[in-house]
Amino acid sequence: MRDAVAELVSDGDTVAIEGFTHLISFAAGHEIIRQRKRDLTLCRLTPDLIYDQMVAAGCARKLVFSWLGNPGVGSLHAVRRWSEGERPRLEMEEYSHFGMVCRYTAGAMQLPFFPLRSYAETDLPRANPLIRPIESPFAHETLYAVPPLAPDVTIVHAQRADAAGDTQVWGLLGCQKEAAFAASRVIVVVEDLVDESVIRADPNRTILPGLVVDAVVVEPFGAHPSYAQGYYDRDNAFYLEWDAISRDEKALQRWLDEWVLGLAGRHEYVEKMGSERMLGLRPTPAPSGSVDYGEYR
């Protein structure tokens, strides 16, 4: 992880660590904090705790997002401290969920914009002048367009990949595929590194071919306190604990010192969390039925 972040993430980059509730690469976010990257433009539909932590650590210049909160709990207190009042220290560029997804899609498809039926008669286009009305070339109809979003680096967490970067995900898919295809560089972080034959036995489950992946990093529990379907549950208790930690700037900085800056990497974080907590998040198995792809010679 240290090498991947050092080589592929630079100060001033536009970075997307995607994953909708599911598969959020906290391991990569923490490494970016440890390497004290600065002036990043951080993109995510839901900035979640990882961007609250990265903002508090001073990594971010700007947030690009669609829903800013601690899901199921309340506010992101560090982001609020940086963005409220007369002199906000953090730039904000906001869309809706579909607007963000369409931005990544346009980025992946190399389109100059993407049209959608959102935003009419709302204040969002006034708050963000990059959301613009567009006339249909085929009918008298006004839609709204959003510009492409092509991150310098997209980081996704996945259940498994092979050494070439061929990546498979199951459970919520979010918009990792779009965000990765849109990016100049892609880091994939996985629970399991598998043989190419495992990928080839189930090609429908592949979201990214190695062709678009620049680095594969193996970090079991790398998405904690987010989750990995079939591997470990979302640590909802941590999301609740973060509410208390992040309300107090000093407590938050102490947490970063203890759990991020003071540790060498994810293995130490997992060890420090303790096996009881981590193994307690393992679900009981519910394997899929398998399908028969057939052999065609």
């Binding site: 899901p71 906001e94 709302t122 204040d123 918009c175 979302r234 999301y239």
Partner: protein
């Protein structure tokens, strides 16, 4: 936990919203009260209801109460898991959603909704979460249900920011009563047991149109309360 003959404001809101779902088929669910209301409706007045979650799930069968909108329990056993592009593009913008649930920090008499900021956008007094999927749900679902608590701060004459338009809102359920949209304006049609019209008027920033006759909401029944307390929210996370 309240005894069976009494109930909390949250329980009344859940039951009132669930009853309004009778006859509906495809419902876009939010976390918290909407999630419980939709699951209660499926056990009572709307057994055919399909649960859709913005995280990319159609036909969810959650085995536990999800804390977040992307809980793994909405995936296991679902009919379909899709990318968010498909969910918002084909299912929502494609016109397949009958009812969408929204919450609100502020609402006005035309049921326009603010979930973005309190104060000026450029220098907000309170930064709220923003749209998420709300602005597109408001524009693309056939009808919108709003569940929220009402107070002078939330039922306002003028929104600080318009995140979602109220055109498709059909019902607003609060801790005090039930409103329906009639000719583009919210009409108070029912007040909950123990609530007076004066109290409702005192907690909103405009003079409401009042239904004639103004009904009293039927209190939650024993079976509705049993389902909420024993099956849908046994820990009382949202309902006590």
């Amino acid at each position: 936990m309240s005894p069976a003959n009494s109930f909390s404001a949250a329980e009344m809101m859940i039951v009132a919203a669930a009853r309004e779902l009778a006859g509906q088929r495809v419902c876009f669910v939010g976390v918290g009260l909407p999630n419980i209301a939709v699951n209660l409706a499926r056990c009572t007045v709307a057994p055919e209801l399909e649960l859709v979650y913005e995280a990319g799930v159609f036909g969810a069968l959650p085995a536990r109460l999800p804390l977040s909108i992307g809980d793994p329990t909405i995936v296991t056993g679902a009919t379909a898991v899709t990318s968010m592009f498909e969910l918002f593009g084909y299912y929502l913008q494609g016109g397949l959603i009958d009812v969408g649930f929204l919450g609100a920090a502020q609402i006005d008499r035309q049921a326009n909704i603010n979930t973005t900021v309190i104060g000026r956008y450029e220098a907000p007094k309170t930064r709220l979460p923003g749209s998420g999927g709300a602005c597109e749900i408001a524009q693309n679902a056939r009808s919108i249900f709003v569940i929220m608590r009402q107070s002078p701060r939330s039922f306002v004459e003028r929104l600080d920011f318009r995140t979602s338009v109220g055109d498709r809102v059909s019902v607003v359920v609060t801790d005090l009563g039930i409103y329906h949209m009639v000719d583009g304006e919210l009409r108070l049609d029912s007040i909950h047991p123990g609530v007076t019209l004066d109290r409702v008027r005192a907690t909103m920033g405009w003079e409401p149109i009042v239904g004639d006759p103004l009904a009293e909401t039927e209190p939650p029944g024993a079976e509705e309360l049993r389902l909420i307390r024993e099956e849908l929210d046994p820990a009382g996370v949202y309902t006590t």
